[in-house]
Amino acid sequence: MPGQGTEASLTVDVVFWVLAVSSIVAAFAVVHMRNLFRAALFLIVSFVAVAGMFVLLRAEFIAAVQVLIYVGAISVLIIFAILMTGEVESGSPAHSLRIPVGILAALFGLTAIFVSVDTEWRILDQFIEAGLLSAGATAQVRDVFSNTIPWIARMLVQDFVLAFEVASVVLLAAIIGALALIRER
């Protein structure tokens, strides 16, 4: 079937660089655009590129959820909020803190890059190739990566169901709190 055995090929590299460059360029555009509406649109481009990254990492479920929640819901709320403000066309003017903030962001980015390059990542494929995993463990790893959804489901609503439910209760409390704050008296 198509779509199998594509790891570490030229196509994956090309797709990775396209996604990486577009997500970073879009993120820059979000900060630099004076037009708030366009900035929000570039934020969406960045979200979609990150979803593409998740697909490359074989986490299709997270990619779909990323598009569904960030692109379909959060961005829409952001745009709604932007349209409620008065100056959409020039709502993001230049200010004096620009340079220090830029330096801080650059420092943070460089640190993140250094850490991720310097860390010795324990990649499962290398373990399998080196024969460090038992046959059963190898089969399990392959099973997880062939279809991640049942494993996510098992984690989410079986092993860590309490944390999951507590998180949803917290969100519910936040919703009710927001409604109570804006309620007309």
Partner: protein
């Protein structure tokens, strides 16, 4: 005569990949898949665009029939060639842009609307081995991709710098965001029963159509889907009598054609998804191949949606939002609880459910559905307007009494 998926040899996409592979020298499998993928995507997309063109004629003709008029009937037999005339008209028209418009945003909006609509087709299984992408996340992909439409409508409304377009977009986006919730929750019942998000697994898991097993889920999904494609009971986006033409007011020429291509393609694609989720997809009776069954079922759903469109009047904004949040949302929670409990009761150790057990579930679910719909209609539905009893006006017999 069994209700199964019938392979059709040459129609299957897998055999096309194999055919291209046989033409190429050894060791070029990846090229076969690449070429085959491009060829198949090209065929599928163009077939979809062509059937959308035919569908516009079909819809206008059928609506005409419903409304006791003829519909397009000038060019070709029964006016079949009308879509070509429309296309020529739209392409040759001047493409105007308002002075205040945000040019980039306005130009990109039709593309952003069309691309997700086309992307959905990638996961639709047209036959046993006929799909463009074998995605495990199937239905989640469909939901995620269709949610991008919201952004496109925002872009169109904002970009064209027109108050009617903006109002239409605002209303439309509020509606689309609300109806995404019942749509996703309506799918949950199907996913619970079939135990998979992948569309081909969902088809395999239907020994009897899920329409019979969970009618409530079907009703919720169809209502939410017709709201998502903003068709008449829910066409707040382009309420002609109130908003000019809604978010597409300022569009003309080829951009308008693209917007309407996406708009008319949505019913076809939504019908395909409904067929896969609730009508057993490519399942059918031999010797007719699965692809043909798929097309027949899709046509039936398209016609049913058209019937709904022709019959119901447009709802008011507050009625639409109330229906989503008070009606469909509550009903979909009832559906999820019912299906989840039944699945836990009926499934064996491997999680499988037999056809016989599905019939029992169907009986229970029909009872639940009728009860739930009646209760919702009683609590939400508006009472008939009470007319005052006609009492004669005091002036009515003025002259008679005077005499």
């Amino acid at each position: 005569m069994s209700y199964e998926i019938h392979a059709a040899g040459i129609l299957d996409f897998g055999s096309i990949y194999a055919f291209i592979d046989s033409l190429l020298p050894e060791g070029l499998d990846w090229l076969a898949f690449t070429v085959g993928g491009f060829v198949l995507s090209f065929i599928v997309i163009n077939a979809l665009v062509m059937s959308t063109a035919v569908y516009t004629w079909f819809e206008r003709r059928t609506l005409g029939r419903f409304q006791n008029r003829l519909g397009p009937n000038r060019w070709g037999p029964f006016g079949v060639l009308q879509p070509i005339a429309d296309l020529v008209k739209l392409i040759t028209k001047e493409d105007t842009t308002p002075d205040d418009a945000d040019r980039w945003v306005m130009t990109l909006a039709p593309v952003v609307l069309l691309v997700p609509t086309l992307l959905v087709v990638a996961v639709v299984p047209f036959g046993q081995d006929s799909f463009l992408g074998r995605l495990n996340i199937g239905i989640l992909f469909v939901l995620g991709v269709t949610s991008v439409n919201t952004i496109a409508i925002f872009m169109a409304g904002w970009g064209s710098a027109n108050k009617y377009a903006m109002l239409g977009a605002m209303r439309g986006v509020a509606m689309l965001v609300s109806y995404e919730v019942p749509m996703a929750l309506g799918v949950v019942g199907v996913v619970l029963l079939s135990g998979s998000l992948a569309l081909f697994d969902i088809v395999e898991a239907q020994p009897i159509p899920f329409l019979l097993v969970q009618p409530l889920g079907f009703l919720i999904f169809v209502a939410a889907a017709s709201a998502e494609m903003s068709r008449t009971p829910f066409d707040q986006i382009e309420a002609e009598s109130e908003l000019g033409s809604g978010y597409n007011t300022e569009y003309s020429g080829i951009k308008f054609a693209l917007l309407f291509l996406a708009e008319f393609m949505a019913p076809l694609i939504n019908s395909m998804i409904i067929v896969v989720l609730f009508l057993g997809g490519t399942r059918g009776f031999s010797p007719v191949p699965g692809q043909i069954w798929f097309i027949l079922k899709t046509f039936a759903v398209v016609f049913a949606l058209l019937w709904v469109r022709a019959t119901w009047p447009r709802l008011r904004v507050d009625q639409i939002m109330g229906f989503a949040w008070k009606g469909l949302f509550a009903l979909s929670l009832v559906n999820i609880f019912a299906i989840a409990i039944e699945v836990v009761i009926f499934q064996d150790e491997t999680g499988a459910i037999t056809a016989g057990q599905m019939w029992i579930m169907a009986a229970i679910n029909w009872a639940i559905t009728i009860a739930a719909v009646v209760v919702t209609a009683r609590t939400l539905g508006q009472r008939k307007l009470e007319r005052r009893r006609a009492s004669p006006s005091p002036l009515a017999n003025m002259y008679a009494e005077a005499d």
